[in-house]
Amino acid sequence: MKEIIAVVRMNKVSATKKALVQVGATGFTASKVMGRGRLVEDKAIIAERRATLLMLAQKNDATTDKLVTEFLDGTRLFPRRLFNVMAHDEDVPKIVAAIIDANKTENKVGDGKIFVLPMLDAVRVRTKESGDAAI
C-alpha cells in the first residue's frame, strides 16, 4: 500500500478528481493548504509574469510595484489543494501519471508536487477488513 500526496492548483481540483475516477482511485481526502515551491531561478519566467501582473493591475505606482515584487520574490504562500489518495502498489504509476496529465500547464512553475509514501496498514471501519482489502 502507498499513500499518494498531491499538491495541486485550486482550479485543477475538478480535473484532478475526474482523472482519479478514470484510473479507478475513487476514494480520496482533500484539504485546503498554503504552500510555496522551490525558488524560481529562471529570470525570464519572473520577468514575463511581472509584465502580465503589471498589465492586469493597470497602474504603475510604487504600491503596485511593491505588491507585484512581494508576489514574485517567492516568500508568499499560495493557496493549493492537497489530495491524499491511498492506493495499491501496482496502481501507483498510473495514478501519478493521471495526476500529472491533469495538472500540467504551460506555466513551467507552480503546477505542484506529488509525493509517494509507504503505508503500513489500513483498516476499513465498517467491516474491520485490513491491509489491501481495506482500500
Binding site: 504562500l77 501507483v92 501519478v96 506555466n107 509514501l117
Partner: protein
C-alpha cells in the same frame, strides 16, 4: 528523501518558514490544524480546551538535509530559552517517490 511534518505554534509559523528559506529549504506546504498533546489540552477551571490551533509545516528534503532542517525548526519553534508545553512536535516519514508536475519528471 524524507517527509518532515512539524506541528508548530501558529505565531511561530512565519519565523520558522523564513529561517527555513534562509537555510535553503524554501519549498513547504502549510496546513492549519487543531490538536492536543501529551498534556491533554489546556484546562482553565472546569473548561478543557483540547482542540488547540496549530500550524502543520510539511516539507520534503533529501536524507542528508534532515539534521539541518531539524536544527532550524527545533531552534525557531521554541518559546523562550527553555521551550514550553505546546511548542509542537516533528514527525519524519520515509518517502518512496517524488514527482514535479510542471516538468513531469521524478525528483524534487
Amino acid at each position: 528523501m524524507i517527509m518532515i511534518r512539524a506541528v508548530v505554534r501558529p505565531d511561530k509559523k512565519e519565523v520558522v518558514l523564513d529561517e527555513l528559506s534562509v537555510a535553503g529549504f524554501h519549498a513547504a506546504t502549510v496546513i492549519d490544524v487543531v490538536g492536543r498533546g501529551k498534556q491533554k489540552g489546556i484546562k482553565f477551571g472546569d473548561v478543557v480546551y483540547d482542540e488547540i490551533p496549530k500550524s502543520l509545516i510539511m516539507l520534503v528534503v533529501n536524507d542528508e538535509d534532515k539534521e539541518d532542517v531539524l536544527t532550524v525548526i527545533l531552534h525557531y519553534a521554541k518559546t523562550g530559552g527553555e521551550g514550553a508545553f505546546g511548542d509542537g512536535k516533528i514527525f519524519i516519514s520515509p518517502m518512496d517517490e517524488v514527482y514535479t508536475v510542471s516538468s513531469g519528471t521524478a525528483g524534487l
